[in-house]
Amino acid sequence: MTASNRIDDRFKSLRDQGRKGLIPYITAGHPNPESTVSLMHQMVESGADLLELGVPFSDVMADGPVIQRACQSALEAGTDLDAVLAMVNDFRKQDPLTPVILMGYMNPLERRGIEPFAQQCAAVGVDALLIVDCPFDEAEQLQATLTAAGLHQIFLVAPTSTEGRIQRMVPMAGGFIYYVSLKGVTGAATLDSASLGPAIQPIRSASELPIAVGFGISTPDQAAAAAQSADAVVIGSALVSRLHDAQSVDQALTIARDYLEPVRAALDHVQSSDGEHAQPSLRQVGA
């Protein structure tokens, strides 16, 4: 991986600042297509360090009911692949730095063609793809295409992933490793933060990449607890379920702000457990 990628740059600066990363997820086109780009900017303003944007799919097998409902509503509103790419393109006009990760499923990408899609992603300023139903076992060809376009592929590690699988995945992973903190689908239950440190130890031993923890994090306290051992936390269903109720773009922005700011504040009180870069956060909320 020779080309510089916004994700690598962002995690480097997070590390330098001793700051824990906040990665909110929204489904593109939800609660309505008009709000997505504004929501992306709002999330950055409310403390997001990286953004995960869901590409709507009809059969989201690994997601829970909240994200499934969001996908259905986004599809009904006509959020297709071109619309998603246009949203990122719009976002980039004002924000050249915040990394954007597209999260989705294989079939819509294959229908477009992985190669053209990778090039379109790179052209509008997408930094990585997380393809939920493409584990590293099936990712060889895909990986070469993404790498050629300067995109990272983000892989999931589950509590049930064996050390052997982690070892085989690491050489293919880029950007960061996404640790799924519980057994189940997105939004299913709550995180057991006490077991998190030992659970991610095998990933730390196998890889230098930063680790983000997601699935089951919905409150500021849970985010802070997860960040004790991880470099970043991903928040998805908890935010998306709140956005369901938004009646207007303004309301969606308010919901995102009110939800994310306390999470950001809690993360900023987490002292990095790694002595090397245990510096106070440069960006305390209210400062």
Binding site: F57, S58, D59, V60, M61, A62, G64, P65, Q68, R69, Q72, L75, D80, L81, Y105, M106, N107, P108, L109, E110, R111, R112, V132, D133, C134, P135, D137, E138, F155, L156, V157, A158, T160, S161, T162, R165, V180, K183, G184, V185, A188, A189
Partner: protein
């Protein structure tokens, strides 16, 4: 003649070993050519690897196989007979039409072959709870049945639309002690039930075994479900050789996900002279969108854990499908069928709702055998095919299930209140 038949039979046994023993397909990573594979989230990977190891172990385990054979004989009622459909043969005026009577199995369809096998596997793996998805309800009933027998908890996921269409089977499952969960997402049919069952499995993977009802899904399911269904094809091959001194000229079976078809086809793959024809649901016709014929009218993509032919729109979103038969109303198909299509070993055709209904009546009234609406698709094409062949040839149709469950659907179409 008898000697020739015996030679043929010997050759058949050798063929079975070549196919089964050689394990030509899938390859060790679960691919049938470019199809199949394990396109699932990492969260499911440990579960399917655990299943694969168990399957590899028990597939060749003598005690396990004896238990399976015992259950197939005494619980399912195997072997199922071959039946010469004399009046339909006369009606078609061509090749001899023979049925493999999977409708006579316990619970009324081929589905029980697979659920008995998978439930024994679940038990051997120490799982206490089984889950299943179902379309027509036959697989749900077959799963609830084996769960009752083995004293396991059973949850069946079923689309809201299918629950409406298959009320009798829903009640049967409840009587058997299963919990039936109505799935209200997406098209509210089989594909959505499958999504929901996967979600349950990934959440409860420690104590739960997912009994997939067809040859779709991630590896090892397509191979595992095929192996449990292939008992029908092995029996049919032997029975046909014994009764007619030769192999059939053509095999015909309906294809939704494709489990009864692959069960019949698989032991014949090396017998190149035997044509294999899978019949998909053409619904209101293949020229429109209201059908479920992924091999005839679909294209290659990724759905439910494997690369295969499927029905999607130009954005890659999975399309809503239509068939009068809930069991065929599925936008994907097992990856081995995709492979057999591409290498030209099997052919796939479509039969419309109307043609299937006509065959349902013909089979019922000429043979006294009421086929499931799924099966009626195979019967419809089998009659047509037989008519185009000569009288010294024969067509073997997999009579995969009986039609009792469809009485309300047919009555509805006829405008009769039952």
């Amino acid at each position: 003649m008898v000697e020739a038949a015996a030679d043929r039979l010997g050759a058949n046994v050798a063929d079975k070993q070549a196919v089964d023993g050689g394990q030509a397909m899938p390859d060790p990573r679960g691919h049938f050519g470019q199809y199949g594979g394990k396109f699932v989230s990492e969260t499911l990977m440990a579960a399917i690897e655990e299943l694969e190891l168990a399957w590899l172990k028990y597939r060749d385990d003598h005690d396990f196989q004896s238990r399976l054979d015992h259950d197939l004989a005494h619980f399912v009622g195997r072997p199922s007979p071959l039946y010469f459909a004399e009046r339909l043969t006369e009606h078609a005026g061509g090749a001899r039409i023979v049925f493999k009577r999977e409708d006579l199995n316990h619970t009324g369809a081929h589905k029980i072959n697979n659920t008995v096998g998978q439930a024994l596997l679940a038990q051997a793996m120490g799982k206490r709870r089984v889950i299943a998805e179902t379309g027509a309800g036959q697989h749900g009933v077959a799963s609830a049945t084996v769960a009752a027998r083995l004293g396991m908890d059973c949850v069946v996921y079923m689309g809201e639309e299918d629950i409406r269409r298959q009320a009798i089977n829903v009640y049967r499952m409840k009587l058997l002690g299963a919990e039936v969960v109505s799935v209200t997402s997406g098209s509210r049919t089989l594909k959505d039930a499958l999504n929901e069952a996967m979600r349950d499995w990934v959440t409860n993977v420690d104590d739960t075994f997912y009994i997939i009802g067809t040859v779709a899904g991630p590896h090892p399911y397509p191979a595992l479900v095929r192996d449990f269904n292939a008992v029908a094809g092995r029996e049919a091959k032997q029975q046909f050789s014994q009764q007619y001194g030769q192999l059939p000229d053509a095999l015909v079976a309906c294809v939704g996900g494709g489990s009864n078809a692959i069960g019949l086809f698989h032991p014949f793959i090396e017998d190149r002279a035997v044509r294999m024809i899978g019949v998909e649901a053409a619904g209101n016709g293949l020229s429109g969108q209201a059908h479920a014929a992924s091999l005839c009218a679909g294209r290659v993509g990724v759905l439910h854990g494997s690369r295969t032919y499927l029905l999607d729109d130009d954005q890659g979103q999975i399309r809503h499908t239509h068939s009068v038969s809930a069991g065929l109303d599925y936008p994907g198909v097992g990856p081995e069928h995709a492979w057999l299509k591409d290498i030209g070993r099997a052919e796939y055709v479509g039969v419309t709702d109307d043609q299937a209904l006509e065959a349902f009546y013909q089979c019922t009234q000429m043979e006294g055998i009421m086929p499931a609406l799924e099966t009626a698709h195979a019967v419809a094409y089998g009659i047509k095919l037989a008519a185009s062949m000569s009288k010294d040839q024969s067509v073997l149709i997999n009579l995969s299930g009986r039609g009792d469950k469809d009485i309300h659907t047919v009555a509805d179409i006829d405008g009769i209140e039952v």
